[in-house]
Symmetry: none
Subunit: 347 residues, 4 copies
C-alpha cells in the first residue's frame, strides 16, 4: 500500500530548538492501541499513517498497561520500516507499576527511569527510542536526579532526546536550571493538551519558554477527544451510533462540569462549522489545522481507529495554510478564550 | 521617643535562605510616603516603626515618582539611625521615566538597572541599599542581561541582596537558571501580593520554590488595601469619613469586579470579625497575624499613615502565636480559597 | 508464604534527598548470612522480610569473605523477585583481599572500586546494585579519584546511587566538594552505627549535613548487636543459652571497656524495659522504634537469624508512632547521652 | 630602637598553601591591647615585636569591643611601618554589636561581613587587611552566602586572603565545596586553639585537610593562657603576685573542671620543666617551640604585656630546632595526649 491519492505532502517541522524533524501530524497510542482498537486495527492505522508521511509515533509505558508499546512495536517489526526513517517516543512515570508493587515503580527517580526505560524498550522490541518523556512532574524526586537520569538514558544510547509531558512552566525552567548548571542536556519538548478549547498553557503560561528555552511542543487531544470533530453536535451519547468509550467520556464530562457547560461548548463548535464549510474541510480538519497554525507546535498527535480517520487528519497539513489572519480572527472571536498576553515593559 | 508600653517584642526572620534578618512587620512607602502622607507624617510613622523594632523599610523608584525615596532618605538622616541597624530596599523598573523619556528609563535592561540604582541612591542619600528588587518581570530583556545587571550592583557595593516583585514562578526559576549557569547570585526574595483574599501565588504557584530555591517572601497588601481591616464593613465610601483615595479605591474596585463581588468580600470579612474578637484583637491585626502564620513569609510590609496605625500593626507579632491549627481551620472554612496542593507521585 | 497476620503495613522512606524509597526496616547480611546463619536460614529470613514489605537488602563484599553476597544473590534468584521491586546494596573496601594479595584489593582506588564492583555483581548474580557504598574512608586515595570511580560505576549502569559507610562529616563534605566541582554525583547516603547508646555521630557530628547535603542514613546496629534487645539483662554469657558468637561478643566488650561499663549499659537498658512494657512491645522493638523516630533515618538495617526475629523487627514500623514527645523525653532522661546542639549565631 | 642582641633571626613561613609569608611568632591583641594592657604598653610591645622581625599582627572586631583594633591601628600609624612590610588581620562575627542592636550585627551574613569590614578598617585606619577571618561558624547563614561575601571583600580590595577561626573540619570542607563550585577563593587558613594540652583539633580532626585543602594554621593560646609558662606551678592565684585577670582565669578554670583536674595539668607541666632546663630555655619557650615544631603551624599567635615577654617568645624560633625526635617522643610520653591517627587502608 502506498500513499492514497488526494493526500497533501506531509510537512516536517523541527522539534523545538533541535535538529530533529517530526511530521506535523503524528499518531499516538493513547486510549486506542493496546486498548479499544485491536491488533489488526492498530496495524492498519499505523500503516496508513506511515504511508501518508507520518514519521512520529507516540506511546507511553502507561498506555494500556504496556500493551500499547507492545502492539506498536509489533507493527514496526511487521512492516520492516527502517529505524532511521521513523521517530518513536515513549513516556515514563505512571506505568511501571502494573504487575509490580508501586514503591519504586512510579515517578521520576533514577531507579524507575532506568528500569522503566529498559522495560519499555523490551516491549517495543527496540534498542532505543527517539524521544523519551517524563509523563508528569514528580516533586518528590529532586529535579537534579531526574535531569541526570534522562541524560543517563541518552548517554547510554537508549534515547536521543528527552522532554516532558504536562509539566508547568516553572518545572520546565527548573529542569533547564540543573541541566545548564551541570552541562547536561535539557528537555527539548513538552507534550501538553492543546486545542481550540484549551489554550491557556500553550498560548499563555509557556509564552516565554519558546524563546528562552527553545521549547518544542508535541500536543495531544487536538480534537479534545472528539468534541471538536463535531461528532457530538446533536449529541445524545447513548445513541447506538456511539461506542461505549464515547458514551462514558461524555457522561463523565457532564458529571464534572454540568450538562450546561457541555452544551455551551457544543454550541461553540457548531458556530465554527460554517468556517469549516467555507474552507471546504470537515470540522475536525479545521480544528487540527488551527492547532498547526501555531508555529510553536511541532506536531499534533492524533488518535485514529481506522485508516480513513488517519487520512482525514492528514488533510490538516494542507488546510492550515488557508487560515488567513482574518479567518483566525473570526475563529478567535467565536472562541473568545485567547489568553491575555503577559504585559511587558511598555504596556 | 522610645518603644511605647504594651508593644510585643519584635520578631526577626531570615529573609528566605539568606543570613539577613528582617522584622516580621515592616514599613513600606507605597501610596503613602511622598504621596498622601506628608513629610512630618512620614517622619513620625518611620520613627514609631523604628522604635517598635521594625528594621526593614521598603521603597521603590516608582513610588510617588521618587518622592517616597526622598522623604524616607530624609527620615533616616534626621534620626541618625546606624546604617547597619536597618534594612533598606528599593525597586527598579517603573520609576525611571519621570522627567525623562520612556525609551530606556523603564524595564530591566542593564542601562536602566545601573542608572536607576544610582538615581535611587541619590534620592535616598545612601551609598547602598540592602535589598534591590526587580519591580516587575521584563520579558523584552533577556533574562541573562537582567541577572548580570543585578549582580553588577552587588559587586559594586550598591546593593547586598537582589530579588523580584510580582514575577511568576517560571520567571524566578529562569533567573536562577542563568545565575547558576554563570556562577552568579540568584534572586533571594520575591515581593508578591499576599493576604487572606489573595492566596494563589504564595500558597499554590510558588509552593515548590521555597524548597527548590530557598525563596523568601516580603509580602505587600497584607490588608488588601484596607479591606481586611474591616473599615468598609458598613461601607459607603462616599461617606464623609473616607478620604478621597479610599473613595477612589472602592469605586475602582466596583468598576472592575462589580458591586456584587465587592459585597461578597465584605460579607466574608464580616464573618472573620468574631474570630478577631475572640482573640481580643482588631480585625486588621488578625489579618496581619494570619499572614505571619505562614512560615514562608519573611516580612509583611505594612502601610501606615499615623504612629497609632504602626503600633496596631506591630501587635500582629504577638497575635499570630495565638492562631492554633483549629483557628486557622476555622478561618480557612470561612475564606474557602485555599489553593489545591499540587498532586505528587503517589496521589 | 505471604505476609503473616498482625504485621503492620511497611513504611517506605525516601533515601535522603533522592527519589528512591527504601523500607524503614531493612535486612542486612553482616555477621549472619554467609556466616553463622546457614543457607536455608538465610533464605527463610529473606523470604519473611520480603513478605513483610522489606524491599531493601544490604550486603558488602567483605561480609563473610563474599559468602554473604553469594547466598543473598541465590535467594533473589530462588524467589524470582522482580529486580525493580527490590533495592539491593553492597559495599566496597575491605573484602577484595580474600584469595588475593592485599596490595590493590583494599581501599577506594579506581582499580579496586571497578574490579571489586564486578566481583560483587558476579557473586550476587546481578547486573547492577541499587546502592553502592564506600565501606570506609580511604585517606590514601585522593578524594577526587574515589568520587570519579563511583560515578564511573553509575555511568556504566552498575549502580544507581552511591554513598559512604563510617565516614566522618568532613570526608563526606570533601566528597561533595569534588562532586560539585566536577559536575558529578555526590554520595547520597551514609551508613553509620546508630542506636540508643551511640548517638554522637548521627545527632551531633552530622547535624548540618542533612540540610546542607540532603544526606540520608541507613543505620546499622540499631540494637547494638543485641544489647538493646535486653537479652543480656541477667547476662552471664557463658550460660549455655548463648551461642559462641554471643559469648565472644560480650567477652570482647568486657575486655575493651571493663566489666563495670558493660554493667552500666545493662542497667540502663533495664530501666528502659518498663517503657517497652507500657507500650506493649518488646524491648528490642522499642529500641528499633526509637531509631525510626529520627526523621533523618531512612532505614534501620536489622540482622535476623529466624523469620520470627524478622517479624518482631517489623513491629517497630507501627511502634515508633506511639513514641510521643513525652515518652521520647522519658527515654532521653534515662539515656542521658543526647549530643549537645552546635551553638549558633545568637547563643 | 632596633632588634635587641641575642634574639634569633625571625623565621617566615608560608601561610598554608598560599604565597604569603608570616612570621612564625606573631603578636595578637586578644585580652591584651585595648583591654588590660594600656595604650603605651601596646605601643611598646608592638614595637618590640616589629623590631624582632614579627610581621604578623592579629586582631578582631570583637576584641575589647573594637578598642583592640583602634590601638593597634594607632601603633601602625605611630611607627610609620610600611604597609607592605606587615601582615595585618582582623576577624568578623562577634563584635559588630557594640553600640548597635544585635539583629544583623553578628554572624556571617553578607550584610555583617561587608559592614563589619568597613567598620574594622575605619578603626584600624587602614584601607585593607591582609587576612580576614570568620571568627566562628554561622550555621544559620548559607555557606554560599558567607563564601561569596568574603570573596566580595577580596574583590573590592579590602582583604587579601580569608580564613576561619574555630570552625570544624566539615565546615571548612563545605566552604571549599562552594568556593570550588563557584570558582571563588576558599579559606586558606584556620585559627584554632593549639598547645601541648589541646591537640585533638590540629593533630586529629584536621589531619587530612593540610593535604586536601592546603590548610594553614595561625594558632592561638600556644601557652594555654599562661598555664604552659609554668607560672602557676606553685599556683595560689590569690597570691599578690597575680593580676586580677589571672586570678579570675584560674578560678574560672577550677569551677569548670574541678581543682583536681587543674592540679593534674600543673603536675604535667612541672614534669616538662626539666626538659626545658636541659635545653636551656624557659618553660614558656619550650611550649612555644613545641607548637612551632608542627610543620602545619604557619604562625603561633602570642600575647604579651611587655617587650620582655615579646623577646622571650621570639626565642622559640631558635629553640624549636633543638627538638629532636627523641625529645619530642619524651614530651609525648609525658603529655600522653597524642590523638590517634585516623586508620587508613592498611591498618
Amino acid at each position: 500500500m502506498s500513499k492514497p491519492e488526494g493526500l497533501p505532502e506531509m510537512e516536517y517541522r523541527f522539534l523545538g530548538r533541535s535538529g530533529l524533524k517530526v511530521s506535523a501530524i503524528s499518531l499516538g497510542g493513547w486510549l486506542t492501541y493496546g486498548g479499544h482498537v485491536d491488533r489488526d486495527g492498530t496495524f492498519s492505522c499505523m500503516e496508513a499513517a506511515y504511508n501518508s508521511g507520518v514519521n512520529f509515533f507516540d506511546c507511553a509505558e502507561g498506555y494500556a498497561e504496556g500493551e500499547s508499546e507492545k502492539v506498536m512495536g509489533e507493527a514496526i517489526k511487521k512492516y520492516g520500516w527502517k529505524r532511521n526513517d521513523i521517530v518513536i517516543s515513549t513516556k515514563l512515570y505512571w506505568g511501571g507499576a502494573f504487575g509490580n508493587n508501586k514503591v519504586n515503580n512510579l515517578g521520576l527517580s533514577r531507579k524507575h527511569i532506568i528500569e522503566g526505560m529498559d522495560a519499555s524498550l523490551e516491549r517495543l522490541q527496540l534498542s532505543y527510542v527517539d524521544l523519551i518523556y517524563a509523563h508528569r512532574p514528580d516533586r518528590h524526586t529532586p529535579m537534579e536526579e531526574t535531569v541526570r537520569a534522562f541524560n543517563h538514558l541518552i548517554n547510554n544510547g537508549k534515547a536521543l532526546y528527552w522532554g516532558t509531558s504536562e509539566w508547568d512552566a516553572s518545572e520546565i525552567a527548573l529542569a533547564w536550571r540543573h541541566a545548564d548548571r551541570l552541562g547536561l542536556i535539557g528537555p527539548v519538548m513538552e507534550q501538553p493538551n492543546y486545542n481550540m478549547l484549551d489554550r491557556v498553557k500553550v498560548e499563555g503560561e509557556f509564552a516565554h519558554l519558546y524563546r528562552e528555552l527553545g521549547l518544542g511542543l508535541t500536543v495531544f487531544s487536538p480534537l479534545k477527544q472528539g468534541i471538536l470533530s463535531g461528532k457530538y453536535k446533536n449529541g445524545i451519547p447513548d445513541d447506538s451510533r456511539f461506542a461505549q468509550t464515547e458514551v462514558d467520556f461524555v457522561k463523565g464530562y457532564w458529571k464534572r462540569t454540568g450538562k450546561e457547560q457541555w452544551q455551551q461548548i457544543i454550541d461553540q463548535v457548531n458556530k465554527l462549522e460554517p468556517i469549516a464549510q467555507k474552507l471546504g474541510v470537515k470540522m475536525s480538519v479545521l480544528a487540527l489545522a488551527w492547532v498547526l497554525s501555531n508555529p510553536n507546535v511541532s506536531s499534533a498527535i492524533t488518535g485514529a481507529s481506522s485508516p480513513a480517520q488517519v487520512y482525514e487528519n492528514v488533510q490538516a497539513v494542507a488546510a492550515y495554510k488557508k487560515l488567513t489572519p482574518d479567518i483566525l480572527k473570526e475563529i478567535d472571536d467565536i472562541l473568545n478564550n485567547k489568553p491575555p498576553a503577559i504585559t511587558y515593559r511598555f504596556d
